[in-house]
């Protein structure tokens, strides 16, 4: 579905990323972990074509219209209501207003925002805005979903619920996902394999781990899976460059 080959990215000076290879097969859920500033967002920007790499290739099996990109920050159009923001992508794809609004309301409801469709972004909390942004992308029903730390602003309960909802959706629709996150546990409980980026500059893919937890998954149950603790520990080691001081093997 998505293949990144030898990607090198820079902003003028020394490359931020160098020779990145990663692959997301159709219907698979991949997580990309890495220290802050290592270049995770830059990888996604190259995949969506917002940025040109210095070298390397990005290959997509679907047209760009089938790719949904959830940004790290939750900038919505401030002059449009939550509903209009969600409907925007659908309208761009030619949906009539009525149909687009109905679909927008449906997705807002799934995000627990059924009463907020008429509000402007500044009348929403950070977490609510984030959920509007999620609805905006999911409403397009993309085949490939790129997400940049989508859940960081959500409280634990909502976060678990939204993640579970998303996971169900991804499993039912066989979506392919590349999720960028800081959260090791989230990476394991949601994905089929986890890429770990080393500290930049010239960050590289340091490791690729498979997650052997059967689907369909429950976000909370996954954490009790026997492979969860050991994998968490290995990710911790990869990221910190030293053995875990905390014993995660529950």
């Amino acid at each position: 579905m998505l293949r990144v080959r030898g990607l090198t990215v820079g902003y003028g000076g020394e490359p931020v990323l160098e020779g990145i290879d990663l692959e997301v097969e159709a219907g698979k859920f991949a997580a990309l972990l890495g220290p802050s500033g290592s270049g995770k967002t830059s990888v996604l920007r190259c995949v969506t074509g917002l940025m040109r790499p210095q070298s390397g290739r990005v290959e997509l099996d679907v047209p760009p219209t089938e790719v949904g990109f959830l940004f790290q920050d939750d900038a919505l159009l401030p002059w449009r209501t939550a509903r209009q923001n969600v409907a925007l992508g659908l309208r761009i794809r030619g949906a009539p207003r009525r149909a687009a609004d109905e679909k927008a309301d449906h997705w807002l409801a799934l995000m627990g925002l059924e009463d907020f469709g008429g509000r402007f972004p500044r009348q929403l909390s950070g977490g609510q805005r984030k959920r509007v942004a999620i609805a905006q992308v999911l409403a397009l029903e993309p085949k490939l979903l790129l997400m940049d730390e989508p859940f960081a602003a959500l409280d634990a309960i909502v976060r678990t619920r939204v993640t579970q909802e998303l996971l169900g959706w991804v499993e039912r629709e066989h979506l392919s996902v590349l999720l960028v996150t800081h959260d090791l546990e989230e990476a394991i409980s949601a994905s089929d394999f986890v890429y770990v980026l080393s500290q930049g500059p010239r960050a590289r893919i340091r490791a690729r781990h498979e997650v052997h937890i059967a689907r369909p998954r429950n976000v909370l149950e996954s954490r009790r899976h026997p492979t969860f603790g050991p994998l968490l520990r290995r990710l911790w080691d990869d990221l910190s460059g030293e053995p875990a001081s905390v014993d995660y093997a529950l």
């Binding site: 990109f69 940004f71 920050d73 159009l77 002059w79 925007l88 761009i92 794809r93 402007f120 009348q123």
Partner: protein, 253 residues
Amino acid sequence: MKRWLDRVAVRRSLALLALVIVWEALSRLGILNPFYVPAPSAVAKVLGALFADGQIWQHLDATFTAALAGLTAGLALGIALGFAAALTPLLAELLEPVMILLNAIPRVILAPLFVIWLGIELASKIALALVLVAVLVFFAVYSGIKEVDQRLVERVRTLGGGRRVLIREVYVPSVSAWVLGNLKVAVGFAFTGAVVGEFVASSRGLGYLLQFAQSTYNASLTIALIVLIMGFVLILFAAAERLERRLLRWRYA
């Protein structure tokens, strides 16, 4: 209790009223020389007389026509040039230095030139108001477009939006916000242009009356006219503010 005192408008009005009362008292006590600083009551009398004999209307008409025509034309020209410059780099190269120069000088110094070019009638006043407003609006639009939130542009792009969608969903709304944010200043500029234009050379208008009052050392008439202009500009400010709040509902909601 005293909730109405919390309102800014109420507090400001009270402060002004207090000032007027002190002023009146000082005048009555003979501390202020009425030749230079006539009492508020004397000013009020002159104001009343201006309206009573009906002479004032033609002057109000002249000033308002010049200011509003200049405002409208200045807005239109500023918006058009701002958009054109932001979208056409060549035009920006040509326009920017002129606009920066015009922005740097006190533009009212152009008044005598407009009188020479356009005569002492309405046209020269409209031109001055127009230039004052257009330069302001040009920069509001131009920088509104150039400093548009790139995150929003990227967002709309990744949702599949092309140039047309970007202009409609991102550029026009963010430029409207900039222009409306400057609307009050523009109204003030339009009146400055009209009145100063009349002040320099004219046969009608509030600026003409002011010039007349000054040349006859008539302090009461001068102050009365200043108060009158203030009053009208405040009314227009209130209207501009209402318009802004209405159109920028997303910002004030």
